[in-house]
């Protein structure tokens, strides 16, 4: 059964991951994608996948998570980007083809893509 072999792989991965973990959690980037009915119907699953693919392609390590509906259904898919010490930015109507530019501008160059912003939260304490 391939399953046992994969659990073996997992042990190795765990050891590799553990060492870097602390650093990443402290300085890392968090990306949150809305995954309510509204988000799913607007294509949020594909947007999330595009984000994962782009991060992998550019070898950027970020934590990507999903949440339910937050009430701004008309702007779905919604993507929040939070980086330590910076305001949390919410982008709206994020389609998969917008993801490369979003990652390039926001994560690599450090510029907020103003025309796609639908909300921002001040830096968390």
């Amino acid at each position: 059964m391939p399953r046992l072999k994969t659990l073996e792989d997992l042990k190795k991965l765990r050891e590799d991951a553990q060492g870097e973990l602390k650093v990443r959690l402290e300085t890392g980037t968090k990306i949150v994608v809305g995954m309510g009915t509204c988000g799913i119907a607007a294509g949020a699953r594909e947007t999330m996948h595009a984000i994962l693919a782009e991060l992998e392609k550019r070898e950027i390590e970020a934590h990507v998570t999903t949440v339910g509906c937050i009430g701004m259904c008309i702007r779905e898919p919604l993507v929040d980007i939070e980086q330590a010490g910076k305001p949390r930015i919410t982008y709206g109507n994020v389609k998969p083809d917008m993801v490369p530019r979003l990652i390039e501008e926001h994560l690599i160059k450090g510029n907020v893509v103003q025309e796609w912003v639908v909300g921002r939260l001040p830096t968390s304490p």
């Binding site: 994608v33 009915t37 799913i40 994962l52 992998e56 339910g68 937050i70």
Partner: protein, 183 residues
């Protein structure tokens, strides 16, 4: 929604909203009986009889951020279009089970679509959740239990970039294997 895996994602997200910590997704594809059966079970807060009836009404939702809840009515409509139906069993404090049945070969049946993407969207939820998934195609099964994976991982989260890529690949390979063995 064009793929059944999007309805499945939506149903699993309902479970998360209901506070579930353990989800089960069991898919059975049976050509001999021309049946596709999808079961989603959770240990969320559950619903009473009245609410169980009302969740199939598109103008009912538990949410306060908007006024309609289209998820389950859409899933039910998709099943009914294909000589199937959707049943909901729920008990307050215990959990909810949603079962959708389809005539497998029905021409209006949407494809299952991208299940690995659906599973990853659930597993990357902000709410910590375990998922048991079993997918059977004509007797060949693929099984995944993230509780076992979490035990193996200890304090490394499933959302860790390396872990999530590994997991996504493992699901893809597992599904490809059963499709291959079953045909």
């Amino acid at each position: 929604m064009r793929e059944l895996s999007l309805h499945i994602l939506d149903t699993l997200e309902n479970s998360l909203e209901a506070g579930a910590t353990r989800l089960e997704l069991v898919i059975d594809e049976d050509s001999k009986h021309d049946l596709l059966r999808i079961r989603v079970s959770d240990n969320g807060r559950g619903m009473d009889t009245e609410m169980t009836r009302r969740v199939l009404d598109p103008f009912f939702t538990t949410r306060t951020t908007r006024h309609v809840g289209l998820g389950l009515p859409l899933f039910a409509a998709a099943a009914e279009r294909c000589n199937g139906r959707l049943h909901i069993q729920s008990q307050p404090g215990v959990g909810t089970t949603v079962i959708a049945e389809f005539q497998h070969s029905h021409m209006d049946r949407s494809p299952l679509g991208d299940l690995p993407k659906t599973l990853m969207a659930v597993l990357l939820s902000e709410r910590p959740v375990d998922l048991y998934y079993r997918h059977t195609v004509n007797g060949e099964s693929f099984e995944l239990d993230t509780a076992a994976i979490r035990r193996e991982l200890g304090d490394v989260p499933i959302s860790h970039p390396r872990i999530r890529s590994w997991l996504s690949e493992a699901i893809k390979e597992g599904l490809a294997d059963i499709q291959e063995s079953a045909t």
